[in-house]
């Protein structure tokens, strides 16, 4: 058993009394005061998240765009410098190596934010398919990442930076400063609220964390753990690798057709995806809400007309909607919104219904 990996904020979490858990090999805070409390803070005020466990890769070279476009589903040629998009890192099978955020830093430089537990695999995947003479670098160990999320996030972060945050559009980023130290400030997030994700040097992380907590005090900012991060992303209808998507699932099955740009030309998995698009998917990701008493959880069976038909990928209580919600896979012909299904909870079928996603959408 190897030792758990720690972010530069590990001591800060412990000082705040966080409950720490092993999250994919990382010693991470699951909660400070309580998941519901933290969740509500993000929806109504703001939350501060240590997401330094996330990985970052850089692709550099005259053909950087070609490599990025060859291994991912979205069309990075559409990105302007300073723009970000969500994309799928693909196998030849048309299934996910990972889901990632692609930032265009310059014509010859792309910065990718990837999942913590996939970063080594993702790096190897880029290297394996690098017939474009690019330099691929794993920046993970050189960066800490802090997310400030919620309606008050912009006001809080603006107190610490001269970079005009209101000029950074949603899913754009700027290389600026926070507290006078270099920071990549991205107007992105994983909570369904407005907010920013900042990439900074690890030795700056604890100072920025504490400054942000202090700056946010008057706004009701709370430190938030991975527990709230999960309930927030679930409500917002966002996929989590290892649950809604993995190496056996295609983006079309996962309702992520919008990140699959077949018109851009050949890329890893494009033949499979082209065929699947033409023929239609056999199974499909659905959102559900429990109608009977019980909570559908990851791995639970879904029944339709009394027969096993699919499985739950993520599920739990929605603190904002005060209902029990979840994602799952069903055969495409049974995946219509409104369909009555059952989720098997403790060997008993509990009534549920297929409902539209996202479950929660913030007021603009």
């Amino acid at each position: 058993m190897s030792e758990l990996l720690k972010t530069p904020l590990n001591a800060a979490h412990r000082a705040l009394g966080a409950r720490m858990v092993d999250f994919g090999g990382w010693d991470m805070p699951v909660q400070y005061t309580g998941i519901i409390d933290e969740h509500n803070a993000v929806r109504t005020a703001a939350g501060l998240f240590d997401v330094s466990h996330m990985g970052e890769l850089e692709v550099l070279g005259p053909q950087a765009l070609d490599l990025v476009n060859y291994v991912t589903t979205n069309d990075a040629s559409k990105l302007e410098t300073g723009q970000v998009h969500y994309s799928g890192l693909m196998y030849e099978t048309g299934c996910f190596v990972d889901d990632i955020l692609v930032h265009k830093v310059a014509d010859d430089r792309y910065f990718l934010c990837v999942n913590a537990s996939n970063q080594d695999k993702d790096f190897a995947h880029f290297v394996e398919h690098n017939r474009f003479d690019c330099t691929v670098t794993n920046l993970g160990p050189k960066l800490a990442q802090i997310a400030v999320q919620g309606p008050k996030a912009i006001g809080i972060l603006q107190k610490l930076t001269k970079t005009d945050l209101s000029s950074i559009k949603y899913y754009w980023f700027a290389d600026g400063e926070v507290s006078g130290e270099p920071a990549r400030i991205a107007h992105t997030g994983y909570t369904g609220e407005d907010g920013f994700e900042i990439y900074i040097a690890p030795d700056q992380a604890e100072a920025r964390w504490n400054e942000l907590l202090e700056a946010g005090e008057e706004f009701g900012l709370k430190p938030c753990g991975l527990g709230a991060r999960n309930t927030l992303r679930l409500e917002a209808g966002m996929a989590l690798y290892g649950h809604e998507i993995d190496a056996s699932i295609t983006p079309l099955e996962a309702n992520l057709g919008w990140i699959v740009k077949l018109a851009k030309g050949e890329f890893l998995g494009s033949a499979v995806l082209q065929k699947q698009k033409a023929e239609g998917v056999r199974r499909k990701l659905i959102g559900f809400e429990m109608r009977g008493r019980g909570i559908g959880r990851d791995g639970y069976e879904i029944r339709v007309d009394g027969e096993a038909a699919g499985w739950v990928t993520s599920g739990g209580p929605s603190p904002t909607l005060n209902r029990n919600i979840g994602f799952g896979y069903l055969p495409a012909e049974k995946a219509q919104v409104g369909a009555a299904i059952e989720v098997v909870v403790r060997n008993q079928g509990v009534e549920a219904a297929v409902i539209p996603t996202p479950f929660y959408k913030r007021a603009k």
Binding site: I36, R293, G294, I295, R297, G316, P317, N324
Partner: protein, 127 residues
């Protein structure tokens, strides 16, 4: 709120038992609710169900996970705490009092004596 009554008996699975005549009231401990976090759902057997010491009595769910509750004693469930269906969060607020789970008519009065005393339990959780 975190006071552990001295006259209760406890288990290593973090349940408590309070005996009154031939009936045992069963709940989960302050330590248990703290470990679980925000409790959002409680599943209990119907009154009349026979339960056995060490076997499942139901489950408690927090935002993140499901936890099995094991019956500390053998007997028949005579009453369940109906307030918990609509107010599971009471288990976080008053686990040793109003948020009891079930009352069980004991099959063997002596069984309770085999459970942990407060002193044993505190030593166990501080272990």
């Amino acid at each position: 709120m975190s006071d552990y009554p001295e006259n209760y008996r406890y288990t290593k699975e973090h349940e408590w038992v309070a005996v009154d005549g031939d009936t045992a009231t069963v709940g989960i401990t302050f330590h248990a609710q703290k470990e679980l976090g925000d409790i959002v759902y409680v599943d209990l057997p119907r009154a009349g169900t026979r339960v056995e010491a060490g076997k499942s009595l139901g489950s408690v769910e927090s935002v993140k996970a499901v936890s099995e509750i094991y019956s500390p004693v053998t007997g028949e469930v005579v009453e369940i705490n109906a307030d918990l269906a609509d107010g599971p969060e009471k288990l976080n607020e008053d686990p040793h009092g109003t948020a009891w789970l079930v009352k069980i008519r004991l099959a063997d009065m002596g069984e309770v004596e085999t459970l942990l005393t407060l002193e044993d339990y505190q030593a166990y959780i501080e272990g």
